[in-house]
């Protein structure tokens, strides 16, 4: 028997064995982390994005270090003072025009997790860079059923170019699997649920279920072979499309292999949602709940969540803001409008705090889920009125990876946001040398 509990992909295994197939299952093929709640609680990485910037005067604490007075927008964080770090001074300078003219909202979202200046196009050749969450996802892919989960709360049925000649792909997605492959978020809670737990067809016997899985694998083999054969004699652009197909097939194959052992014992901890809740607050809460159960059942360890797509036009009549969000942020100093923007910012923060409450109340390993998470909350713009990409609003919740919490950290002006990301990846145990415009590791100048 093989002693190490390192997960050995079946496919590699079969290849090594040549034509010998009918072998009994080896212990090594059981993924070491597949069982819910392994002894050592894993670390989770998540990003929560709010669109159109934030009223910075009501966000940034007046003093650095611990013991600062919580500004208005951050007041919902009172119970989490010891679980959060506020960071000032970070920038995503590649969100700026740099000669490309208008389109700051598209660039804000596209650069947020990549640190890359996106190519200005509404057409074929979209290009940004790989995003920090996807780097983590690719490393952790073997550990969980889903490498990552992308969530959104704005219906993105939009036509054509979304922001001054930028493709909608830029404003809709934060996560980029590769420079030309955005990962569009799922916005329907029912579909998120089905994705997480949909493989469980409880009407079938375990044997029938196992057979179905086997058919699936055979299908994937068949179409995979076909694709490789087909792409051999196609032009480059056609082949690129089929490569996308092939790599997606492989992704599913890997997942099926992991799924077949651990799905039988898994019962979804929440009921299946029927659709999108009517009230925004309910909607967001449900999406956070899904994120929570995804972490709780260890379906994935990497999540990005957009509380609104960049440039969002959502209205918030339930809190006295009947105006669409984006035009409102172009307030040009109008106090009434600023007040409404702040209200929206505050609502977002309250909902986020609700999520933190649940994370903190969910036991995980030797502590709570919050203890084993790093959740970055923020926006790709600071001042939505002037489209500022510097001094971004950034907060990190959770104790994951031994973050020093409870303080307001200030770093050197225009420190790349990607420096922070590299540090977060370090804490995930992934040593990356560069990401987008990074210049090194994150180094605060004050507050620690």
């Amino acid at each position: 028997m093989i002693i190490t509990r390192r997960h050995l992909p079946r496919r590699t295994f079969l290849k090594g064995m040549g034509a010998a197939i009918a072998l009994p299952m080896l212990d090594a093929m059981t993924p070491a982390f597949a069982l819910p709640r392994a002894k050592q609680a894993p670390l989770r990485l998540a990003f929560t994005y709010v669109p159109n910037g934030i009223t910075m005067a009501d966000w940034t604490p007046k003093t650095a270090g611990p013991g600062f007075e919580l500004p208005r927008i951050l007041t919902p964080l009172v119970p989490f003072r010891r679980d959060t770090v506020i960071i000032s001074g970070l920038a995503q300078r590649n969100g700026n025009a740099l000669g490309d003219g208008p389109g700051d909202h598209a660039r804000a979202a596209a650069s947020y997790l990549t640190g890359v200046h996106p190519r200005k196009t509404a057409g074929a050749d979209i290009q940004s860079g790989i995003s920090v969450d996807q780097i983590a996802a690719q490393h952790l892919a073997a550990e969980t059923r889903f490498a990552s989960l992308e969530l959104g709360c704005d219906d993105s049925r939009t036509v054509g170019n979304c922001d001054s000649g930028y493709s909608c792909a830029y404003t809709n997605s934060l996560a980029w699997r590769g420079p030309a492959t955005p990962m569009p978020p799922e916005t329907n809670p029912r579909l998120v649920f089905e994705r997480l737990f949909g493989d469980i067809d409880t009407s079938l016997t375990p044997e029938a279920r196992a057979r179905r899985q086997r058919y699936r694998r055979s299908i994937l083999d068949l179409v995979g072979d076909r694709t490789r054969q087909l792409s051999a004699d196609l032009g480059a652009s056609d082949r690129q499309k089929l490569d996308e197909y092939l790599s997606s097939i492989r992704d599913i194959e890997q997942r099926i292999e992991k799924a077949e052992q651990d799905l039988t014992g898994l019962t979804p901890p929440i009921d299946k949602p029927t659709g999108i809740p009517v009230l925004y607050a309910d909607y967001v809460t449900l999406m956070f709940d899904l994120q929570l159960v995804a972490f709780q059942t260890d379906c994935t360890r990497v999540v990005t969540m957009m509380m609104g797509r960049e440039g969002s036009m959502r209205t918030y009549p339930e809190i006295g803001v009947p105006d669409p969000h984006h035009p409102l942020t172009h307030h040009r100093g109008n106090q009434e409008w600023i007040e409404r923007v702040t209200k929206v910012n505050s609502l977002h923060m309250e909902l986020f705090a609700g999520f933190l409450t649940k994370l903190k109340a969910t036991p995980d390993g030797d502590g709570s889920l919050l203890d084993h998470s790093m959740i970055v909350y923020g926006s790709g713009l600071s001042d939505g009125n002037r489209h500022t990409h510097e001094d971004l609003p950034v907060l990190i919740a959770g104790h994951g990876g031994g973050l020093t919490a409870g303080t307001h950290v200030v770093c050197a002006k225009d420190t790349p946001m990607t420096n922070l990301y590299l540090t977060l990846l370090d804490r995930m145990g992934l040593r990356e040398d560069r990401l987008g415009d990074s210049t090194g590791r994150f180094e605060p100048v004050a507050g620690l």
Binding site: A22, P102, D125, V159, I219, V223, R226, M313, P322
Partner: protein, 866 residues
């Protein structure tokens, strides 16, 4: 005024399929010399300061174009230079101006050389990248392939769009999340076709209806919509009914009605038809107050059979002003007697207390007298179900699957049936002839699963699922054929596929397949007959919806919001009606083969009562849409459709800039460039109160940089200023009367929408080129390149003789070089050097041996099995 600008997007990195160098047209010595002695000195004097090595405004560096060869390489940029010079847009007004004759002479020289290059360049049909089926195409294809109308793709991630459309091969990507959906959709579709819809537990879904605001009415308004559908008291939503079956429609009521009112009726409408009514008497239910009817929290329930699909579900309160107490003066007043309220103080109350209670009683009475006539409303609707739906597969599905002819027959399936069924299915699914070896792989899958599950149907479910996730089904892949020419005809079946996805957003039907198999599809008479047949078919609705919805952008209505304070009328019923008007207009244009000029100034449209009221057109009653003659109204053509006027406005106000841009982009295909960075915004607060929008924009245009584009856009938009941001007619904007006049850069002036239409009508050649370019983009599924300009021009030139008929336009497109041909791939060596496929790490394709093992073994054994 505006000539076609075919946007060239050829800058996407290494394009190995670019035309080989040898095909480049030669330039004579005199051309090379003229460039040196005339063009370059002119540009050095007037252009290089902003577009040279020092500064590159708009990323344009003319100084880098050092020889006449640049005319060949950067034709699209030079074409732009010609336009800017001819339109006297460059150099900008605040720079020294060249001698006008010199400016025009240089422009003409460049234009001539460009057209000479065009003439001598061999025709290039371009290469269309393999197109993944988009959501609409996937839904329609499984519907036509298997008779399964589940619309599974509605759950897929949003398709990316480029060049204005979401069927562009280059842009459509495939993420792992989508692949997962393909897997489960294929399973669902196959099982639905074979065994009927999956058991769906009844679910309750709350629908939303946005933007309504009930206005308080205290006096009978006279004439009103008795169906109540167009009043904000009604509820409208579009909801996907998953299966045929019975559903509960639960209605949540709200609002007040005076005490003594008669019961109200509630009417349930589905897709513009009244399907059920029920009577609801507020006084029959327990209420906290007896001096008014309070509907809040009250519910009523319909039980109704609904057919699967997207349904427009409405609940209205008909005859809302009837049955009220007589003092309201409404028709058919209530005979119910309301006892006058009586003041009865408690017997032991002190005089102070009595006085206090009397005051409060009087206040309450005064308050009650103010209860509006219009208070009761439908707050929300929930739909629960399905109940008692018919299990089992549909006849249509069985017929499409069991092509062996044994379904329902006395003869049971023969052993060869699996192979026969799969052969027919794979051929239809792949939209081309198939080889026996190709089908055999799927048949092996079927047989394996059939053995394991002891059922042919179970086996077929697996086989069909495999076909539905194979790249040959999900992508429309066109194969390169050997040929020397730069334009090789695509195959008959590829042509049939292009036709059917162009006109139907779906797979070819039997008729097209037959023509392709017979090899007659290129026969002009056959092709024309097929196109005419396809356009008359109901499936051509897809063209109105998918092409029209993106061309005129009315798809955007789904996500359009409006300031509720300023536009209380913009609720869902109006929004749905707007969309329907434009859809019907285009459907008729397509099916009845009308002239495309109708979209500029056709004096008819399709209206229901709601929209007719919005437009102020009398004599249209009821919710059904019908053709309405617009003679005598200021409306004609799509530009005055509320849908178009709304999507080209802001949430708070109209924008002549957006509308002008909309016209240039969508009707004249001459999109203005994006604004430069750091443009000042308009002072929104002042608009309409301190200064008119027009005056503000004129101020804006005083800036020479802004003016070069805005003097093209703004005047067009001003012509539509009589229509507000939701398309209603108006004569005042805030405190200022509307001035709908404009003067165009060429000096032509006009006043009002009618004269604007006349100008557009005069521009019908530009319009024809514009529509041609858009439709060609959609038909090909790729962005147009410079070499397509000739095709667009040729087609547009032939339209006037055919009265600009829609069918003529479609026929010209399907006969065109790029629609029928494909440029062969570049040489193998060129390809090898530019391979940049993204292979995930550690995922090299398996060895030949491993593949052989797998393919001879349809099911790899799982551990412990066998």
């Amino acid at each position: 005024m505006c000539s076609v600008v075919v946007r060239a997007f050829g800058a996407s990195g290494a394009l190995p399929e670019a035309a080989p160098d040898t095909l480049r047209p030669a330039q004579s010595a005199s051309v090379l010399a003229a460039f040196e002695t005339v063009v370059k000195p002119f540009m050095a004097r007037h252009c290089y300061a902003c577009h040279g090595n020092e500064k590159q405004k708009r990323d344009l560096n003319l100084e880098s174009f050092t020889t006449a060869a640049s005319l060949v390489e950067h034709g699209e940029r030079w074409e732009m230079v010609v336009e800017r010079l001819r339109g006297r847009e460059m150099p900008p007004d605040d720079e020294p101006q060249p001698d006008e004759r010199e400016r025009q002479a240089v422009a003409t020289w460049i234009a001539r050389e460009l057209s000479r290059i065009d003439r001598t360049t061999p025709p290039d049909p371009g290469r269309v990248t393999a197109r993944r089926l988009n959501r609409a195409e996937y839904n329609n294809t499984v519907r036509d392939l298997l008779g399964v109308d589940l619309r599974p793709a509605d759950d897929f991630p949003q398709d990316d769009s480029g060049y204005g459309f979401d069927n562009i091969g280059d842009v459509l990507s495939l993420s792992p999340a989508l692949m997962e959906k393909y897997m489960s959709a294929a399973d669902r579709v196959a099982r639905t076709a074979l065994f009927g819809p999956a058991r769906t537990p009844p679910t309750l879904i709350r629908l939303r209806s946005e933007g309504r605001r009930v206005r308080e009415v205290r006096e009978f308004p006279g004439e009103y919509d008795v169906t109540g559908l167009s009043l904000p008291n009604a509820f409208h939503a579009i909801h996907r009914i998953p299966l045929d079956g019975e559903y509960i429609v639960r209605v949540f009521l709200g609002g007040l009605r005076p005490a003594g009112s008669e019961p109200i009726s509630l009417a349930l409408w589905v897709d513009e038809r009244e399907v059920q009514t029920l009577v609801y008497d507020a006084e029959q239910t327990a209420a906290f107050e007896i001096d008014r009817q309070d509907f809040s929290g009250k519910t009523a329930e319909f039980r109704v059979k609904l057919a699967a699909g997207d349904r427009w579900v409405s609940v209205a309160i008909p005859r809302i002003y009837e049955g009220l107490p007589a003092r309201y003066g409404g028709p058919n007043p209530s005979p119910r007697i309301v006892p006058p309220p009586e003041f009865r103080p408690p017997p032991n109350a002190s005089p102070d207390r009595v006085a206090f209670l009397r005051t409060r009683f009087e206040e309450t009475r005064a308050e009650l007298a103010k209860i509006p006539m219009s208070g009761v409303r439908v707050n929300a609707v929930e739909i629960g179900g399905p109940y008692g739906h018919e299990p089992g597969p549909s006849r249509a599905s069985l017929q499409r699957v069991y092509t062996c002819g044994h379904v329902g027959a006395a003869v049971p399936h023969a052993p060869a049936c699996a192979a026969r069924i799969m052969r027919s299915f794979v051929r239809r699914a792949f939209r081309r002839p198939v080889t026996t070896a190709e089908v055999a792989k799927y048949v092996r899958l079927v047989e394996e699963a059939q053995r394991e599950e002891r059922s042919l149907a179970e086996g077929l479910a697996v086989g069909i699922q495999a076909v539905l996730v194979s790249p040959d089904f999900l992508f429309r892949i066109e194969r390169d054929r050997p040929g020397r020419s730069t334009a090789v005809p695509i195959s008959q079946h590829e042509l049939a596929t292009r036709l059917s996805y162009f006109l139907w957003s779906s797979m070819p039907d039997a008729g097209l397949r037959r023509a392709a198999s017979a090899g007659t599809l290129r026969n002009p008479a056959v092709l024309a007959a097929q196109v005419r047949r396809m356009l008359r078919d109901r499936k051509s609705r897809a063209l109105a919806e998918n092409f029209g919805g993106q061309w005129l952008q009315f798809r955007a209505l789904e996500s359009t919001t409006r300031d509720r304070e300023r536009f209380p009328d913009f609720e869902d019923y109006l929004r749905f009606s707007m969309r329907r008007e434009t859809m019907l207009f285009l459907e008729h244009l397509v099916r009845e083969d009308r002239t495309i000029l109708d979209s500029i100034d056709g004096r008819y449209s399709y209206l229901n009562e709601r929209l007719a009221r919005h437009y102020g057109i009398p004599g249209v009653s009821g919710p059904a849409f019908r053709r309405v003659d617009l003679t005598g109204s200021p409306r004609a053509g799509v530009l005055t459709h509320a849908s178009v006027l709304t999507v080209s406005s802001y949430a708070t106000r109209t924008s002549p800039v957006l509308r002008g841009k909309w016209i240039l982009e969508n009707l004249l295909n001459a999109p203005p460039p994006e604004p430069p960075p750091d443009v000042p915004n308009l002072d929104e607060k002042a608009i309409g109160t301190e200064v008119s929008l027009r005056a503000q924009l004129e101020e804006h245009r005083r800036n020479a940089i802004c003016a070069s584009c805005h003097r093209k856009m703004d005047p067009l938009g001003f012509g539509l200023e009589n229509f507000d941001a939701v398309g209603a007619w108006r004569t005042m904007d805030g405190n200022f009367p509307i001035d709908a006049s404009g003067s165009l850069p060429d000096g032509e002036t006009f006043a009002g929408p009618e004269e604007l239409r006349q100008i557009l009508r005069e521009q019908r050649d530009a319009f024809a080129r514009g529509v041609t370019a858009k439709l060609l983009t959609y038909a090909l599924g790729r962005g147009l390149e410079r070499y397509d300009a000739k095709t667009v021009r040729t087609i547009a030139v032939r339209l006037p003789a055919q009265d600009y008929r829609f069918t003529a336009l479609v026929l010209e497109i399907v006969r065109s070089l790029p629609f029928q041909h494909r440029r062969p791939a570049a040489t193998a060596s060129a390809r090898a050097s530019t391979t940049r496929g993204v292979r995930p790490s550690g995922a090299a394709p398996p060895s030949r041996a491993a593949r052989a093992v797998q393919s001879s073994q349809p099911f790899r054994a799982a551990g412990g099995h066998r």
